[in-house]
Structures are given as C-alpha cells and as structure tokens.
C-alpha cells in the first residue's frame, strides 16, 4: 500500500498539487483520472521521488519515503516499475537491452536467466521478434508495450503506469489493461495507473481517484463512479457520446 498524505507541489511559485491525500491499495489497480494538465503525471512523479514535494508525506507500506536519502530510496526504487507517458525507452539500446537494463542493474542472474525473463516479459505484452530493433524503429504503441515489459521485468512491488493505453488500438488496449490487472492480482502488488480512457477505467479500475485542477476531487470504485453526482466528475465521465447513452439506460 502506498499512502500519500497532504502533499503540495509547486513549480517556481505555480502550485500544481494542492493538499492531495490518497491511499493506493495493494492487490488493486488504483486509477488516477483527470483532464489533461490537471497534475496526474506530476503527482506520480512526486510519489516516486522524481519531483521533491514541498510538504506532505509519502509512505510505501509504512516506510517513510519522504525523508529517505538517495541510498535508502534506491532500495525502494528497486521495487518500483514505471511506465512513462512517453515510454522513455533508451534510444541507444535495442528493445532487448532496454528490458534487460533493470535486470542487470538489480540482479546477479546469469545471462540465460536474464534473457529468459526478457523474452517472457516481451511475450506478455504480445511482442515477439522485435528484440533487436531500436526504439526509433517501433510504433508508438509498440514502444508503450516495451515500456511495460521493462517496468515489469524486475517483478516490482509497486507498478506505475502513466497512460499505458494511449496510442493503442482498442484490442491491444484491452490486452494491456488485462495484463496490468493480472499482474496486480497475481503478484499482489500496488498498481497505480493514470488514464484518460473511460473504457479502461471501467475495465480495470478497482479504486479510482479523480484529480481536478491539482486537487483530489473524488474517490471511489467503478460502480460508484457511474452513480456520481459530482458535476466536474460527471463532465469528465460523460464527455463521450457513448457514455452519455450509457447513462440514459
């Protein structure tokens, strides 16, 4: 479980996050939803320590992350897998080397064991025979999937996915949603997924936090979200015509 208590974050005087408190539950897919620019990516980067927060507290299963030094954080980071919004694959490395990278950093497995794990992870995201391509030779959706393979390579205890299915076709998108859900339940990990996509929210969201202009506006599960009468959340959820029709039913 990851606990976030009253965190505030501003960039050169411009406050982005206002007093956010959320509990991200273990074994569940915790979704963060919200409009573009509402601060979702900044929130996750604060949680993993890529941005220092101005005030507040972040705990990983009771371990106070906020006041750790670099070395102690490194221990926690070995347990974190993260998919970035833009995939963030290493340009100069091939797909295989990208997925191998965290394994070589944090384990002393043999070459064969590492290769097995790499291939296993790539298979789980439906990628085969791309081991020797460079990121520049992949489509956007393929990059996303390699990013996921790299994030799960180390069997993380905490998995962060920033828009895992933006840029994917509906079918692959569902495959990825299911994959994230499976991994979460199978290994009983704490997963945080940022999404714009109401389909995947309904598909995979066990616990949903709605961020509005840098504040936590609403929190609940996927059944509650459909019955909500929070006006900003309704605008977000029922933005598409399909969802509007769905509401009338």
């Amino acid at each position: 479980m990851i606990t976030v208590k009253n965190i505030n974050k501003s960039f050169s005087g411009n406050q982005i996050l206002h007093d956010i408190s959320i509990n991200f539950l273990r074994g569940k897919t915790n979704m963060i939803i919200g409009a573009s620019g509402s601060g979702k990516s900044v929130l996750t980067k604060c949680i993993v320590g890529l941005h220092e927060i101005d005030s507040g507290l972040i705990e990983y299963d009771g371990r106070d992350f906020t006041h750790m030094n670099f070395k102690e954080r490194k221990g926690i980071r070995a347990e974190i897998g993260m998919l970035f919004q833009g995939s963030a694959l290493f340009d100069s490395l091939t797909v295989e080397e990208n997925v191998r990278f965290p394994l070589e950093m944090h384990t002393d497995k043999s070459k064969e064991e590492i290769l097995d794990r790499v291939n296993f992870c790539l298979q789980r995201v439906n990628l085969e025979n791309v081991n020797h391509l460079h990121p520049s030779e992949l489509s956007g959706g393929m990059k996303k999937r390699v990013g996921i393979a790299r994030a799960i390579a180390l069997k993380p205890k905490y998995l962060f996915c920033d828009e895992p299915n933006s840029g994917l076709d509906p079918q692959t998108s569902i495959v990825i949603d299911n994959l994230i859900q499976e991994i979460t339940q199978e290994y009983d990990i704490t997963t945080i997924v940022i999404s714009h996509d109401m389909n995947s929210v309904m598909e995979a969201g066990d616990h949903i936090s709605f961020i509005y202009q840098g504040r936590k506006w609403w929190e609940g599960d996927r059944h509650e979200i459909l019955k909500t009468d929070n006006p900003e959340l309704c605008d977000f959820v029922y933005a598409s015509r399909i969802m509007q029709k769905f509401r009338k039913l």
Binding site: K45, V48, L50, F70, K74, R77, A78, I80, M82, F84, Q85, G86, A88, L89, F90, D91, F101, P102, M105, H106
Partner: protein, 212 residues
C-alpha cells in the same frame, strides 16, 4: 569514443593541414629582411601550432562539434524522460551519463591534439616542398631549432583542461534542459558559447601561469 573525438579526425586533419600551410606562407611573406634567416619560418609554424593552434583553436572547434553533440544527446534524454527512467531504476543518472564522457575525452582529445600538431607541421612542410621561397632543408632545420620539450607539456596541460570543459559544460546544460525540443537547441548553443569562452579564459590564465 567515436562521438568524443575519433569521429572528428577527418575534420581536424583538413583544418590542421591547411592552417599549417597558410601559417607557413604568411611567415615566408612577412620576412622581407635578408637578416632574418629563412629557417625561422619552420620555427614559427612549429611554435604557433604547438603553443596555440593545435591545443586552443582545435579545442574550440571540437567544443562546437563534440559539445553540441553531448548537449543535445543528454538534453534529448532529459526531455524524453529517459533520465527519469534511469533514476527510477536506481541509477545515479548524472554520474552514469556524464562521468564516462569526461574520462573518454581526457584520453581522446590529447591524442587528437598531438595528431593535429603533426599535421599542421606537415602542412607547412608541403608548402616548403613546393615553394620557391623556402627549401625543405631550411624548414626542417627550423622546426627542430631551439626546441623546448616543456612547450609540449604546456600544450598537453591546456588540452586536459579544455577536454574537461568541452565535455562538462555541455553535459551540464544538457542535463538541466527543461521543456521541449526547442530548449535542446538553446542548451546546445549555450553550451558551445560558454565552453568557448571558458576555453579562452582558462587559456589566458594557464599561459600566464605556465609560460612566464
């Protein structure tokens, strides 16, 4: 290694040969008194190459080529979140990305500068061979005349400082790039400007300290 100088060997060769040739011709043309022996031409070419043209001018050129390369490479890694990804994997991204570049430059750039010295002097020699105003023997005598080994040491000390500047300043600007692809261009321009100015200032200070 390739991006850190070995890829610049061709460029450095062309520049050195031509500059050596031109310096030689200019010196020949400048000597109009019969009292000055012609071997001073070889001497002048050697001194200007060893003391200044090879270490300082070539490093200025390399700072443009290598510096912008490093700044844009690291800047791209910053804005495409690759540096964040390294951090998440528990890698100290600054030392992982920057340190090896500085170390590699401290080895390759001095070699390039020595190579440039040879080629510059060779450029003058070619002029000597084909010019009517100067004989090869005079030139060859000149380049050996009054040779001071310390000048090579001085040039190498300068080069080590410059090699550090050429890699560290662009790496710094690349690493702290914020924003998008536009800012990568800004970082890379800034890093070339700042490293060139730093080279000139350090050059002045070291010369003052070492040669006088």
């Amino acid at each position: 290694m390739v991006s850190l100088g070995l890829g610049s060997l061709g460029l450095i060769a062309i520049i050195s040969l031509f500059m050596g040739a031109v310096v030689t011709i200019q010196t020949v043309a400048a000597i109009d008194s019969p009292l000055i022996p012609l071997y001073t031409v070889g001497f002048a070419t050697r001194q200007s190459f060893i003391l200044e043209l090879a270490p300082t001018v070539m490093c200025l050129i390399l700072s443009g080529k290598i510096g912008s390369n490093i700044a844009s490479e690291i800047g791209t890694m910053r804005i495409s979140e690759q540096i964040d990804a390294l951090e998440i994997m528990g890698v100290n991204s600054a030392s992982y990305l920057i340190f090896p570049k500085i170390i590699a430059a401290l080895f390759t750039i001095p070699m390039i500068i020595i190579y440039s010295m040879f080629l510059g002097i060779l450029g003058g020699w070619i002029v000597g061979a084909y010019s009517n105003n100067l004989t090869i023997d005079e030139y060859l005598y000149g380049i050996r005349w009054n040779f001071n080994m310390f000048h090579i040491t001085y040039a190498m000390i300068k080069t080590l400082f410059f090699a550090f500047i050429i890699t560290s300043i662009p790496a710094y600007h690349g690493y702290f790039t914020r924003g998008g692809s536009l800012e990568i261009g800004v970082s890379s321009t800034k890093s070339v400007v700042y490293s060139s100015i730093s080279i000139l200032i350090i050059n002045y200070i070291l010369t003052q300290l070492l040669l006088i």
